[in-house]
């Protein structure tokens, strides 16, 4: 699997740390309540198909990336910088 970092270009999967569903970008308010935090921390859509997850270019530029991927084929469809508001 290769991931094309918008800053560094196509790189081997080994350079990246996987954080999980890009839901991690949508942190609820501290007082949002138990259900909102359960949704955020634990409950997952876990799709068989297209998914959006967060990867960190640890052995590269250090950017957090939102990667659109197909979990059935491992095809990488789109990579954007998380910092630029990619949702």
């Amino acid at each position: 699997m290769r991931i094309t970092c918008p800053l560094c270009g196509a790189r081997d999967r080994r350079e990246f740390y996987y954080r999980g569903a890009a839901l991690a970008l949508e942190r609820p308010a501290p007082d949002a309540g138990e259900q909102a935090w359960d949704d955020y921390l634990f409950l997952r859509e876990n799709p068989a198909g297209e998914t959006r997850d967060l990867w960190y270019h640890a052995n590269g530029c250090g950017a957090w990336l939102v990667v659109r991927r197909d979990t059935r084929s491992h095809a990488v469809l789109e990579v954007r910088l998380a910092g630029e508001g990619a949702q």
Binding site: R13, R14, G20, F42, R44, P47, A48, T71, H74
Partner: protein
């Protein structure tokens, strides 16, 4: 049909013409008392114990492919009860005790081999952690022996004991652990359930779960609608998809785990060895292949095949631990879809929908759990109350934060197990 030594002899002498099919191939009935979704190890064991322990026979197992075609037929077959935390401790202990009587109970050779499991340690800190774990195992009624370097060398002389980076200092030895034939476990439970009147329905994919007024009423399948008062979801890596049919989201992420087998060799590794400084564990199958694996690939996947970085890691770790395996040729590799939970421990519980029950979150360790999970899930389905050995496998533990079972001590977070 019963198996016995005499029967094998007789059939051998008469051209093996007397063996019959192990289970029927029934048409689904319009309604059952209980439906089990998923004909893997856990689903088949659940069906067996529903009939055997609770006398419930108006039950069907719905399997979208063929029996035993999922992870039950893809795993590396390690059986052990060396967990350290309350919850896992009593459950795996219960499961191992069921394993020990399984072949007689099922009248089926599951080729269980209590060849022992060795967990290696490479530092003082790791040794201390294993001493603690060993004491927990002894306290739960199981066996654990701390081997020093010399004791270990007698057992597995082929390790690279003086490895420059990670010298082997000893091991926690669990004599009652070992391996079993994975397919045979599925077949044995399938045969046991079928012969007690349970319908095993293959090529029957569940495509919808019917709920009315907060209670389950049945399922939609590729072979039509089937009504039921109770439905159990036991679909391993597909748990999120099937739960979504009932409008639920689960604390589960599906990941791929790979495994490898070499060409057949003469007997060389007579136990199970797990490396303490890299992701690698190994045993030898009865056919002679070295069967080994490591960790999950570490990204969500339904592909049932992995990528090369995980392959490389496993091969490197194997070479660092036992350089002799460099001479063996890898024959095959494959992957399975794991239902990973945030704390690495399973869920056997009711759901928010009456009559709908859930069994999932086995991560990469659900083979050893097959008899225990079947027994406990059957108990829950039959009585509506959790079995004492699985009472802590609660679905709500993540929301409440009470009773998290994080054996690795890394935190209850999806990408850490």
């Amino acid at each position: 049909m019963r198996f016995s030594g005499l029967r094998v002899l007789k059939e051998g002498l008469t051209g093996n013409r007397g063996w019959t099919a192990h289970w029927r191939d029934p048409e689904p009935k319009p309604a059952y008392d209980i439906l089990i979704i998923g004909g893997g190890g856990h689903g088949l064991a659940t069906a067996y114990y529903l009939a055997q322990v609770h006398g419930l026979r108006n039950v069907a197992v719905l399997e979208k492919g063929y029996l035993g075609g999922g992870n039950i037929g893809r795993n590396t077959t390690i059986v052990r009860a060396n967990y350290g935390l309350p919850g896992n401790s009593e459950f795996y202990s219960h499961s191992l005790s069921l394993w020990e009587g399984l072949e007689q109970e099922l009248n089926f050779n599951v080729m269980q081999s209590q060849r022992g499991v060795l967990n290696l340690f490479h530092s003082d800190g790791q040794r201390d952690a294993y001493v603690r774990r060993g004491n927990a195992m002894v306290n739960q009624g199981d066996d654990a022996i701390l081997l020093d370097r010399d004791g270990l060398r007698k057992r597995v002389p082929y390790l690279d004991f003086d490895n420059g980076r990670f010298p082997v200092q000893g091991a926690l030895y669990h004599p009652r652990g070992g391996t079993a034939r994975h397919d045979a476990v599925a077949w044995g439970f399938a045969r046991g359930a079928d012969s007690r009147g349970i319908d095993l329905i293959q090529n029957c994919e569940v495509t919808g779960i019917d709920v009315a007024n907060g209670a389950v009423t049945g399922v939609q399948t590729s072979r039509g609608a089937i009504r039921a008062k109770k439905v159990g979801i036991v679909v391993a890596g597909r748990s999120s998809q099937v739960a979504a049919m009932a409008g639920m989201r689960l604390p589960i992420e599906s990941h791929v785990l790979q495994a490898f087998v070499t060409e057949g060799l003469k007997p060389v590794i007579d136990t199970v060895v797990t490396y303490g400084m890299g992701h690698f564990y190994i045993s030898q199958s009865d056919k002679g292949g070295l069967v080994f694996g490591g960790d999950i690939d570490m990204y969500a996947s339904y592909a049932a095949r992995g990528n090369l970085p995980a392959v490389e890691h496993v091969m490197e770790a194997g070479m660092a631990l036992m350089p002799m395996i460099g001479k063996a040729r890898v024959l095959r590799s494959w992957g399975g879809i794991m239902d990973m939970s945030p704390d690495g421990s399973p869920i056997i519980d009711k759901t928010g929908i009456d009559g709908l029950y859930l069994n999932c979150g086995w991560c990469y360790g659900g083979f050893k759990a097959v008899p225990g999970s079947g027994d406990c899930f059957a108990h829950l389905l039959a009585t509506g109350r959790p079995h004492p050995a699985a009472a802590r496998f609660r679905l709500d533990r993540f929301r409440t934060g009470v009773g998290i079972m994080d054996e690795e001590g890394t935190g209850a977070q999806h990408n850490l197990h």
